[in-house]
């Protein structure tokens, strides 16, 4: 009995190099490459603009086809592509096309109404005049509003630049 378990374990961990086994390894490698390149891309977070929701140095998977058939809604965390999908910005959608937004003393005002944002923990007195989101665009901002408004990279971006959404 012990011998049979040992043999089974040996077969599992040290299998014989047959064509069938090599083919299986190649298929697994190809599937994994396609999955992680086109569906669920691993990403490392650099920067503190999404604190405290996402920490600097953190790791996340980006679900690339998330917005292939649907547009992002307000409150969604999305990735915004730079020129390629290797470097992306992680931001939260706060307004969609046609909405008017502004910041008054750090409070987000959407279509004239203050918005409750439970995910924002650090807040400074951001002042930004009203602006309307253009058609085919969304307005994205990071959760870390403790940074100076000039230092924080945010604004409206075309939907074509939305690369996907983090898995968690």
């Amino acid at each position: 009995m012990a011998d049979s378990t040992r043999a089974r374990l040996e077969r599992f961990f040290l299998p014989r190099l047959t064509w069938r086994y090599a083919l299986r390894v190649a298929a697994v490698a190809a599937t994994a490459t396609l999955f992680f390149a086109f569906i669920c891309r691993p990403m490392w977070i650099e920067g503190a603009s999404m604190e405290p929701t996402y920490h600097d140095g953190g790791f996340v998977f980006c679900l690339l086809p998330r917005y292939r058939f649907a547009d992002p809604a307000t409150g969604d965390v999305v990735t915004v592509r730079l020129a390629s999908s290797r470097v992306m910005l992680l931001k939260r959608v706060v307004a969609v096309a046609g909405d008017t937004i502004e910041f008054r003393n750090g409070v987000l005002i959407r279509n004239g109404q203050p918005v409750s944002e439970p995910y924002v923990r650090y807040r400074s007195a951001w002042q930004l005049g009203p602006r309307t989101v253009k058609p085919g665009h969304v307005y994205v901002v990071g959760d870390n509003r403790g940074m100076a408004v000039e230092a924080h990279v945010f604004g409206q971006t075309p939907l074509s630049r939305i690369g996907g959404a983090p898995l968690w």
Binding site: E46, V80, R81, L82, A83, S84, S85, R86, V87, L89, K91, L128, V140, V153, F154, G155, Q156, T157, R161
Partner: protein
């Protein structure tokens, strides 16, 4: 005798035609040349902790040859709006390399559009990583480059940061 001469001539012609065909097929097109230009720029900008003065001189000399007679730089996030000559670019690189312990710049997602035989544009994201006195610096930006062809070689003519997010 005549047949042999004819056969020789036909063989020579065939070899010449093959050589021309191989040259045409394997000749790098404009897009490939531009991609190589970006790779050369990456190499020139790179600075490793162990690099000495010789590699610095080599890189500063090489980088001047990659740019046209003047190159516009418009990087709004850093308030940079300047037109520099290749000599000025060389001295800027020398200054940057002297200040930093390491520098690595990658051009990712390169998309090239050849507009005419002497003009092209390229879009890419610049991923820059540097270290200075143990402090690590990293930045990324989307840029559009304008390139011109002078004397059969492509050169950088302008770099402009592409606004991804518009406040």
């Amino acid at each position: 005798m005549i047949n042999r001469r004819r056969a020789g001539l036909a063989g020579a012609l065939l070899c010449a035609a093959t050589a021309v065909a191989v040259y045409i097929i394997t000749r790098p097109d404009d897009e490939a040349r531009i991609r190589r230009l970006f790779a050369a720029l990456e190499q020139c900008l790179r600075r490793e902790p162990g690099n000495g003065a010789a590699s610095l001189v080599l890189n500063t000399q090489r980088i001047a040859g990659l740019f046209a007679e003047s190159c516009e730089f418009r990087v709004t996030s850093y308030g940079l709006e300047e037109t520099l000559s290749p000599t000025e670019i060389s001295s800027e690189l020398a200054r940057a390399h002297a200040m930093l312990d390491s520098l690595s710049v990658s051009f990712r997602g390169l998309g090239v559009a050849v507009l005419s035989p002497t003009e092209a544009t390229a879009t890419c994201s610049i991923d820059a990583r540097a270290s200075r006195d143990g402090e690590r610096i990293a930045d990324a930006a989307a840029v559009t480059c304008r390139l011109v062809k002078r004397d059969g070689r492509w050169h950088f003519r302008a770099f402009a940061e592409e606004p991804v997010l518009e406040k």
